[in-house]
Point group: C2
Chain length 150, copies 2
């Protein structure tokens, strides 16, 4: 299998990340893998923000997973810092390999290292497999997630 | 009634913000209004991060509401920036006055001004009044919100 490396994403990783975002029942409708310009601009914004961690999982020089971890300070819960996990994707060839677990465990460990008191994420109501996955990892489905498109 | 001002929070506002966080069925168990030290430290972290906007609503020199808006760049949805609203609170004396709506409208307008494609928030599953409130404002309860305490 080779060693798994979870490291910050670079510009060269963007095509593989966007391909994973698009290879998904929800993502297929909202991504444009043929035009990487907006993604590369977003990577520059992410790289300039020390509280953003866009990561890739790499094995044998191949990008096989990604997630974004955001560190959010705040006043509530006695000034607790929290983290938010977004855009978790595992390459279709790697599903069922435990890579999703390794990615989330990385995010939880990094959140703890950065002094967070809470890790949170939202998952589309239609992704019932993902919900079971997060509950197995100890997450509690305690909230309703609301979105407003602008 | 006097003019409503929604402006960035300052250290002098922290006692009033923490009192609102604590005056809540969920917050009462997890806040410590008698010791402001952790809250003041968190305010310094927030002030140092240009993507964090901890706001207070003030009328006649009195802090009557608060929310935190976080701007999050990202690759998904064609490099869309999103915003997250956290810690929305309205003083008990002001509930039903439309102030909650004004706070959320401020957050939506500011998100639009900063080029966000999406505003998101999570609300505890027990806060059914809040859910109706967000749906009235156009938010869709499309996601499940997961949390893991560290």
């Amino acid at each position: 299998m080779g060693e798994l490396d979870i490291r910050p994403a670079e510009a060269d990783d963007v095509p593989a990340i966007v391909a994973m975002l698009a290879d998904d029942p929800l993502g297929a409708q909202r991504e444009s893998p043929d035009d990487l310009t907006p993604y590369l601009a977003a990577l520059e914004r992410l790289a300039a923000d020390p509280n953003q961690h866009l990561m890739v999982a790499v094995r044998a020089d191949r990008v096989i997973g990604t997630l974004q971890l955001t560190i959010i300070p705040g006043l509530s819960r006695r000034g607790a810092t929290r983290s938010i996990v977004e855009a978790v994707r595992v390459h279709a060839d790697e599903r069922g390999s435990g890579l999703g677990t390794q990615l989330i465990e990385w995010a939880v460990d990094e959140s703890r290292r950065q002094g967070c008191g809470l890790v949170q994420l939202t998952s589309d109501a239609s992704r019932t497999d993902a919900h079971r996955f997060y509950e197995r990892l100890g997450f509690e489905a305690s909230h309703v997630g609301f979105k407003l498109s602008l």
